[in-house]
Symmetry: C2
């Protein structure tokens, strides 16, 4: 019988009604809130915290990643939260419902921080984001960063760049006070969202190979260095098709695909997970923010000589445009003209462009071809020359 | 000095202020409302209707296409319009402004017919579309056709399928009366939009090779069978990357790219126009309608053995969805698993999916890879498994 050992069952609509009992009826033994104490790969046994031994023929390690905490005092105070899984989300929601919160401080200006800034603003909280970096998406080029910052400010969220949190203490006016390198800030709620760290202790304990990134090394079938042990999700590496290196990219859609690949192989249907090109998106108030491939810094690190071109376009044809701005930054390799990455921000149409360019990266397309790509043109959805064409043609001139 | 002989200067915002005089200052002699009576390719001379002879070293034929008229009486009556160029549009607009119109009949349910149905409804006209085909986009599969028809009806436009217009006559209650195979319909305005016909008489008169489609044969540099004569736009063929055949696809964005390619080659910068994959879109009231590649009938005609999969998805993640429907039909070749085409209709997100799949077609991707493609996932813009993934994986199972 297959076992599932984990924290929660996914909250997706179609699954939420399925209890461990229902899974058991389909022949899957689901053990929630159970931890694994040890693995004996020679004997093929997993030992649970309950003392029970589970034999296995094939093992899948999907231990994920844990949120990183800054090394500062006060993390255990009431009102301080992480947002990592469904349980965290429910706790945070319940706290907001039970307490009259007016001020929120978010430590970390990444995707989680930005999405939660919007959620807090929707509840009329006063919101500050503290980040040690100079800006959100600091590697996307000046114009896009500025555009994102404007949107944040337009919604009365304060973004404090280059700010290091030093401690969280009980407050006087509010429940909490966050001491930082740029002063003290009152808060009724503090959210820590400075990233995640791969959870690899179990894998290390049985001597599985780790990759250069420090995450579990896998092959294209999601097999680890031990043949009957697979790893999937935020605990393992993934192949990056642009840099041609195994990298670490803890994202939900990637984890899904890795899980499916492992499952197919275990079930006797060989298949590979062909890797990623680094596509991501986030909605921030009225903006679509989407990126794919490498940014300039990553391109240099991967041995390319990047050239980039930035443009403001419109997501629809000029004749129909109400001057909605669409900012597109495109990066290519100077020696080959091959596209390396792109970032796009706009009221609409940004995810559309980035998904298209993700396919271009997937297929190693160069700027010449992208500049003549056959997109589904009509005035309501773009110009005869789309920002994708214009950026590719202009970038090609800089090679 | 380069000459431009044509009907109107493009109305695009940045160009509309440029008069023939201004073009002349930049060294281009623009002759509007001038026709060409003959070409002598041996001597390199174009003879104008004014009698003037223009010598040329290189000639570009961009004679486009003309609207097709049904062979019925009454086309010359007041209130009967084509919509082909800016002049037609201005005439139609002025007619609507000067006359109190209540009823419009559109003959032809293609893109122009649908866009004009929306425009007429915005002016509160009663609108009927007559089409000889059973439905708009009759080759897209039952579900999508039904979805489009529902949207048309929701906006009080009547779509009369399998209806042949027999004559247009002066009316009694309205200015006009359209007699059809399904009865008579009053109209204050009638729009003829049953398609276009390549304008190739000049090209034929000098013996240029025509392709199998009947349009001017060109190579990848847009050269015709005479080395110093190029052809671009709706008068010539274009290479279809999916069927691997030269085809006829009179679309504005394609014409733009062909023009640019010819211009580069004439200017001494060799370059090819790599062809199309058949991407198109149209906005119809609240719907995005987009297609790319071949439909099933075209796939069979091109020698493939098509299998298709249709699904209803949502354009955002299930957790954020308000049950906006996104219908996606995907077609692949049974023997190779190669994607052949797709059609998508939805309130939002349809063009996004089709642009992505256009890149997939451009690069000959198969369903295996498309099923694991790295899209810019976030809940606001799709699920971890996008309709693109789900359709590709399900279609792969049917191979």
């Amino acid at each position: 019988m297959p076992y599932y050992i984990g924290d929660v069952i996914k909250s997706r609509r179609r699954l939420i009604a399925r209890t461990p009992e229902e899974f058991r009826k389909s022949g899957i033994d689901v053990m929630l809130r159970t931890s694994v104490e040890g693995i004996d790969p020679a004997k093929g046994i997993v030992t649970l915290s309950t003392g029970r031994d589970l034999p296995y023929d094939v093992l899948v390690i999907a231990t994920g990643a844990d949120p990183v905490s800054p090394k500062i005092p006060g993390l255990d105070l009431e009102g301080v939260f992480h947002l990592h899984n469904l349980t965290d989300g429910l706790k945070l929601k319940s706290y907001l419902e039970k307490n009259k919160c007016r001020k929120a401080v978010i430590i970390g200006g990444g995707v989680i921080g930005m999405e939660m800034a919007e959620a807090f603003r929707n509840l009329q909280l006063d919101v500050k984001i503290l980040d040690i970096l100079p800006a959100p998406g600091a590697n996307w080029g000046r114009e896009l960063v500025q555009y994102v910052l404007e949107e944040i400010r337009k919604h009365q969220v304060e973004f404090l760049s280059g700010t290091v949190a030093l401690s969280i203490e009980p407050g006087s006016e509010c429940l909490l006070s966050v001491k930082t390198s740029r002063g003290e800030f009152d808060a009724d709620i503090v959210l820590i969202a400075i990233g995640v760290k791969r959870n690899i202790s179990l894998a290390e304990s049985i001597g599985l190979n780790m990759g250069e990134t420090g995450a579990i090394q896998v092959n294209f079938s999601q097999r680890t260095s031990l043949e009957n042990i697979y790893a999937v999700g935020d605990c393992c590496e993934v192949f990056h098709r642009v840099s041609r290196r195994w990298t670490y990219l803890p994202l939900g859609d990637v984890a899904n695909k890795q899980g499916r690949t492992a499952g197919k192989n275990i079930g006797g249907y060989p298949g590979i997970f062909p890797g990623v090109v680094g596509s991501r998106s986030v909605k921030l108030f009225g903006l679509e923010i989407a990126v794919t491939g490498l940014n300039e810094a990553e391109a240099v690190k991967s041995g390319f000589t990047p050239v980039s071109f930035f443009m403001w376009g419109v997501p629809v044809s000029h004749s129909l445009s109400k001057d909605e701005k669409l900012g597109l930054n495109m990066i290519a390799d100077k020696s080959t003209g091959r596209l390396l990455g792109a970032q796009c921000v706009g009221v609409e149409g940004a995810v559309n462009r980035i998904n298209s360019l993700a396919f271009a990266l997937w297929n190693d397309m160069d700027l010449e071809e992208i500049g003549y790509m056959d997109l589904a043109y009509s005035p309501a959805f773009g110009g005869g020359w789309d920002p994708i064409h214009i950026a590719a043609q202009n970038l090609a001139k800089k090679l």
